[in-house]
């Protein structure tokens, strides 16, 4: 239903008003109807009653007139009056005509009322009355006839027949009266009917009104229920929803119960609001998480920074002290450079003397080598002589061999020569001994010669080695000479280098002092940095705490 609440309410009220109007109208209508009804009934009844009354009156008048006539007659008869008044008869006739006209009026009224009768009973009653009144004419006419007879009798003065007629008159009158009575009864019945009809109409109307009222009430109730539902139910759901939102539950959304009207719009708005809140909460949560992590990061980084600043300060301190050490060592270097210069100059002069020494050594080496070579030559000569001795020994050996053989041969001859040979065999034996000794001696000499040769070889080798060593020594001496010269030149270079070093060291000192000053500045700056970082750290801790709090706050809202 795309009707706004306002419209709904207005509509409802309008409907209610309409219904009330309808109700009122209906009531009024019914009242009018009842009114008309009762009015009609009463009118009718009144008319009838009026007619009836008139009829009765007329009847009475008729009767009285009759009686009057009678009495007039009687009076005349009695002689009270001279003549019967004919007026009364005329009057009676007029009255009968009146009654007749009244009856006719009654009939016409009845027929008229019959057509406009309020209900069937009345209609029937009217019919009955009509019939009766129609029927009453006859008795009336009968009565009138009788009365006419009566009158005629009267006029003739026939009293007795008149009196005899009285009975039939009375009978006729009774019939008429009965009829009139019936009519009256019917009319009174009609009255009752009319009342009943009226009251029934009234009851009907009341019923209708009550029904309509009930219907209207139901409708109104339904309508109000509807409206209320269309208002309260959303409102309740809104209330619950808002309560939930108040407690932090942002996960729900209002279902569109009624859209288009104010509550629907309110629901949409609430949804929108909750969505917005949710978004806000989500964003806040995300932002808080970010903040948290950022705060943590900041804290970590500030802590790191503090640590690194501390490290920096420590390292600055270290650097300062190192710089101091370096400066000290620079001073030492400078000192050492000076010392080195002195030492190098000493080394330079020493190298000069070294050169001289080397020269001497070289010449000594040469001399040694010459001597070694001459020794070698001597040894070689010795070797040759040994060789000669060896040859001689070989000769001696050969002699020994020969002697040996000779002795053997001598022995052989001696053994063949018998007795003389025996003495000869002694000589042979002697020769053999000599040969053996010679051989032994040659062997010994050979071994000794061998040893001598070995010794000579060894000596030659040693001498060769010595010469080589001398050569090596000479080379080394030359190398030493070269190196000493190099050393001398290097020491010259070194001297100049050391002087440069000393100069550079001085400059370095200046530089170090500047560096030390700069380090001081850095240290101050670092300390300030450290202080700042500590501040930063504190702030970061605070931020972290705040972020934690914020997280707690944000966690209130469940998304």
């Amino acid at each position: 239903m795309r009707i706004s609440i306002k419209s709904k309410i207005i509509l409802g009220f309008a409907v209610l008003a309409g219904l009330s109007f309808v109700m009122g109208s209906y009531g009024l209508l019914q009242m009018g109807r009842v009114n008309a009804f009762t009015t009609m009934i009463s009118e009718q009844d009144l008319a009838l009653m009026h007619l009836l009354a008139e009829l009765n009156e007329s009847r009475t008048q008729m009767s009285s007139l009759r009686h009057k006539t009678l009495s007039e007659l009687l009076l005349w008869k009695a002689g009270a009056t001279e003549k019967t008044h004919p007026l009364s008869q005329e009057q009676w006739r007029r009255t009968k005509e009146h009654v007749s006209s009244l009856l006719k009026n009654l009939e016409s009224a009845c027929s008229e009322f019959q057509s406009s009768a309020v209900n069937q009973e009345r209609k029937a009653q009217f019919e009955k009355i009509l019939q009766q009144s129609r029927q009453a004419e006859e008795p009336l006419n009968e009565t009138a006839g009788q009365v006419e007879i009566y009158f005629s009798l009267m006029n003739r003065g026939d009293l007795k027949p008149m009196l005899a007629r009285e009975e039939s008159l009375l009978r006729a009158r009774e019939a008429f009266n009965a009829k009139m009575g019936t009519i009256e009864g019917m009319i009174r019945e009609n009255l009752g009917l009319g009342k009943a009809a009226a009251s029934s109409v009234y009851r009907q109307s009341r019923l209708y009104i009550l029904l309509v009222l009930a219907a209207i009430l139901l409708l109104a109730a339904a309508l109000s229920l509807l409206i209320q539902r269309s208002i309260t139910v959303p409102l309740i759901s809104f209330m619950q929803f808002v309560e939930g939102v108040g407690q932090g539950d942002l996960t729900r959304q209002i279902a569109a119960l009624t859209d288009g009207d104010e509550l629907g719009r309110m629901g949409q708005n609430l949804n929108g609001m909750v969505a917005g809140l949710k978004e806000v909460a989500v964003q806040a949560r995300a932002a808080t998480e970010n903040l948290n992590s950022s705060a943590a990061e900041i804290l970590a980084s500030t802590t790191q920074q503090a640590a690194s600043t501390g490290e920096q300060a420590a390292s600055v301190q270290e650097t300062t002290s190192t710089m101091e050490e370096v400066r000290q060592s620079g001073l030492q270097i400078s000192e050492r450079a000076k010392q080195l210069i002195a030492a190098t100059e000493a080394a330079s002069s020493a190298s000069k003397s070294g050169l001289d020494m080397v020269q001497k050594t070289t010449s000594n080496m040469d001399a040694i080598r010459e001597q070694a070579e001459s020794v070698a030559e001597n040894i070689v000569v010795l070797s040759e002589k040994t060789q000669a001795v060896g040859d001689i020994i070989a000769t001696v050996n050969e002699i020994a061999e020969r002697s040996h053989l000779l002795s053997l041969n001598a022995a052989i001859e001696a053994s063949g020569a018998g007795e003389e040979g025996r003495r000869f065999s002694v000589v042979a034996g002697e020769i053999k001994n000599l040969a053996d000794q010679a051989k032994e001696a040659t062997l010994k000499v050979r071994s000794i010669l061998g040893e001598i040769q070995k010794g000579i070889n060894a000596a030659v080798m040693l001498t060769e080695e010595a010469v080589k060593r001398v050569e090596t020594g000479r080379q080394q001496t030359e190398a030493a000479d070269k190196s000493i010269r190099q050393m001398a030149s290097t020491s010259q270079e070194s001297i100049s280098a050391f002087q440069q070093i000393a100069a550079a060291s001085n400059q370095q000192q200046i530089g170090f002092e500047q560096v030390t000053k700069a380090m001081q500045n850095i240290r101050q700056a670092t300390e300030q940095n450290a202080a700042g970082t500590r501040q930063l750290e504190k702030s970061a801790v605070n931020i972290n705490a705040l972020a934690q709090q914020l997280t707690k706050v944000v966690e209130r809202y469940r998304v």
Binding site: L405, L408, N409, A411, I412, G416
Partner: protein, 198 residues
């Protein structure tokens, strides 16, 4: 360069002097040594006068051939001369090394090693030639070295077993390992038949 321990040149000179003095002095025979020689000779002579311990002990000339020591009866030996090469004899069996001229006499030189059938191969220009006595034949055998003349009792010989037809020339084995050879057997080679004429 110099040895660690310095040379005591004084001591060296002294030693040199001593040794050169020794050399000088060695050329003159000292009376002590002459005395010694005479004593020895006298002892020898005395020994020579004593009767032979065993008359039947033969005198053997011991020589070496390769690793073994051999011996020949001195009675069969004529002369011992050094081997200084010989003139080869064409068409001769391999045991014959050649001929040699000894005091105008042509002698056949055989290689004892080959004659004995030994695998010993020695240098052809070395050794001693044992020339047999003329009674035996005019041949000589080349051996490596001649040692000495010794006495050997025949009963001490260890005779070889002839069952397997062993070396014919071997007479026996002395207690100290000298293989005694039989000269006649040696000369009984077919190649020496020519010269084994008495």
């Amino acid at each position: 360069m110099k040895p660690k321990r310095g040379i005591d040149w004084e001591a060296v000179r002294k030693r040199l002097k001593e040794s050169s003095g020794g050399l000088e002095g060695g050329q003159v025979l000292e009376p002590r040594r002459i005395e010694e020689a005479y004593r020895r000779r006298a002892a020898e002579l005395g020994r020579a006068n004593a009767p032979a311990a065993s008359a039947r002990a033969a005198e053997i000339l011991t020589f070496t051939l390769g690793p073994e020591r051999y011996g020949l009866e001195l009675s069969a030996v004529g002369e011992v001369i050094p081997f200084a090469g010989c003139a080869p004899l064409p068409g001769a069996p391999p045991e014959i090394l050649g001929v040699v001229n000894r005091r105008g006499e042509i002698l056949l030189v055989a290689d004892l090693a080959r004659r004995l059938g030994l695998p010993h191969q020695s240098s052809a220009a070395e050794g001693i030639v044992i020339i047999m006595r003329q009674a035996e034949g005019r041949a000589g055998f080349r051996v490596d070295r001649v040692e000495a003349i010794r006495r050997s009792a025949p009963e001490e010989l260890v005779k070889p077993d002839r069952a397997g037809g062993g070396k014919g020339p071997v007479r026996g084995l002395t207690p100290d390992g000298v293989i005694l050879l039989e000269a006649r057997e040696l000369l009984r080679a077919s190649c020496l038949k020519e010269v084994s004429k008495p």
